[in-house]
Amino acid sequence: MFKRTLVASGAVALAIAIALCAPVLVRAQAPSGTATFKATVTDTATAIKDAAEAAKAAAAAASNWTPPRTPWGDPDLQGFYLSLSYTPLERPPELAGKAFYTEAEALAAFKKAVEEDAEVDPRTVHYDWKEYGMDAWQSPVRPNLRTSLVVDPADGRIPALTPEAQKRRAAARARNPQVSVQTLDNLYTRCITGNQGPPRLPFNHDSESQILQTPGYVVLILQSNNDVRIIPLDGRPHLPQNVGLWLGDARGHWEANTLVVETTNFHHERNWRGSSDGMKLTERFTLVDPKTIRYEFTVDDPATWVRPWSVESVLPRIEPPLYEFACHEQNYGLMNVVKGAQVREAEAAARKK
């Protein structure tokens, strides 16, 4: 049934996608102010059908749409948005050379991901995700024509690490990094930052966010760890290079309807996917229809990757509000992770003897 819907919406959706240079099959499904998804849907077939129908509605909504403005004249991006996708960051090897699915393939891939997501393995499950509404497909995640979120290089893969970066990585892995808080490089487990970067990659929980604007500023509030990025728009210089920040030092400006954010001054211990403190991040936020931000970023870090690389994803609009995320306040998960790793390492050492 959803196949027929898809065909009906296909021509329009594709035309819009090409026009926006953002081949995203589906953006959003309804005018602002209505529910973004049916939280009570627990049937995968129904959910997929809803997603396909959303494509048709979004294509119609986006065809003659211009973004609103704040009273002081900036494009108005304000609202709540989710960072979540079934599209892999890097293109799977079996799809080498294929940057885009056909629409039928995109929907089949989406269906496969939804069904895998909904499967419960009784040996590993801690929650029944479906019961608690935590499957990704119960959120506004939609099919995507892209086969990877990485759009540059053209092979959809993150570029090779430089020799310098390979040495850094090898040194960091010289011993099990989980055996102490000091060496654990997962900043999210340590509650130093949340799971939303910068830059933002899809994450299967707590990837909600809010954009708030006042004259001269855009503020990005992330549900995860309640990280806040304050983005001044007044053209002021970055902080001196020696001032390293876990979330970096952001500066923004508008290019037509797109918010462009350049972030530098990353903390030297931050190590985002192996990055150095010289990483320069450029993000672009564009409201492409009433319910969707197109989110693009480019990572430029010559000490880490042999060339810059870029990602494109979408942030669908969700309902407010955000909630407090007090992560470090009694981080017993961290204590248990590290203690467990120490026990395992001691056991391994005993077996060697």
């Binding site: 055996v179 509030i221 509000p321 017993y332 120490q342």
Partner: protein, 316 residues
């Protein structure tokens, strides 16, 4: 209305300030809208009253510039310059813990009370608990029992400060004001709170920074803060509250560079009656001033996890 004799209702003790003169003169011949427009213009452009410093503690009548919705514009970076984070009541300067290595760095400044009447009206048993807190203020006991918070000052462990303490930590905070929500971002720990103006929202559960709904009373932003958990303290001196804490804050612009901050604190489990605090918040006016991230989690990992053997890699 007067909460604190240190900040009386604005009086002008010296020469008539140009701003007041302008208001009166214009007001005599023009309608009310023009008067307001003129005040706003003067405040934005010339701020002549500010150029002429008033006597200490005294401010001329002041009407704040307007935000897009016609409400007073509180946007900016603000900071309290008082010592209440060490003790909200009056206190002498004192050495900090481990003066043998910390010297003056660890020492705390003396200061005057921000509490109306000087002293917090504790119930007798609660006063005993406060004294016990003071004794144990540097205690740290990290545990994987999620219900244990019976240790020392939460600030020492980089926990969120709660309300009202966030407003008088020795760090700036930034207000982002929209008609529907007012966001406060604190440099300390990057703690954040949203004040829901329209619509008001119901607290889902207790939290460290509580749940804030706001409204305007004239030029005063009034914030009703509920759903605060019982883990935060008011200061390093062990002044505390229970989860029945209810705080009503009032933010009133009193000059281009000052907000008057007042809060009424109510907690029938701990205090015999509601009590009030007040102090000024100062605008940070440096060129390009910004919050500089104070992410204190890495600073406390050894303190908290070291005693459990989890901080440094175990030797092989």
């Amino acid at each position: 209305m007067e909460l604190n004799p240190k900040y009386p209702t604005p009086k002008w003790g010296g020469h008539r300030p140009p701003l007041q003169w302008a208001i009166k003169t214009v007001g005599a011949v023009c309608d009310r809208a023009l008067v307001i427009a003129t005040i706003v213009t003067l405040c934005i452009t010339a701020t002549p009253a500010a150029a002429q410093a008033p006597a200490a503690g005294l401010f001329p009548a002041y009407t704040a510039p307007r935000a897009i919705d016609g409400k007073p514009n509180l946007n900016g970076i603000w900071q309290a310059f008082i010592t209440a984070n060490w003790d909200v009541e009056a206190h002498p300067a004192q050495a900090g813990p481990h003066p043998e290595i910390m010297g003056v760095w660890g020492a705390g400044p003396g200061g005057q009370s921000i509490v109306e009447g000087g002293v917090i009206p504790y119930k007798p048993e609660a006063l005993a608990k406060k004294k016990e807190n003071l004794e144990k203020r540097t205690a740290v006991k990290a545990t994987n029992d999620p219900h244990r918070y019976d240790t020392g000052d939460p600030e020492l462990q980089c926990y969120r400060p709660g309300v009202p303490r966030a407003n008088y930590m020795p760090f700036p905070f930034q207000i982002f004001q929209t008609p529907l929500e007012i966001l406060m971002v604190y440099e300390y720990k990057g703690a954040v709170r949203t004040i829901y103006m329209d619509p008001h929202r119901e607290a889902p559960t207790d939290s460290w920074m509580g749940w804030s709904n706001g409204h305007w009373e004239g030029d005063t932003l009034v914030v009703d803060v509920t759903a605060l958990n019982d883990h935060t303290w008011f200061d390093r001196a062990g002044n505390y509250h229970s989860d029945a804490l209810h705080v009503v804050e009032r933010y009133t612009p009193i000059s281009p560079y000052h907000l008057k901050y007042e809060a009424t604190i109510e907690d029938p489990n701990v205090f015999t009656r509601p009590w009030k605090i007040s102090f000024p918040l100062y605008r940070r006016v440096e060129e390009n001033v910004q919050l500089v991230e104070f992410n204190c989690v890495p600073f406390v990992e050894e303190l908290m996890y070291g005693p459990l053997g989890l901080y440094k890699p175990p030797s092989r």
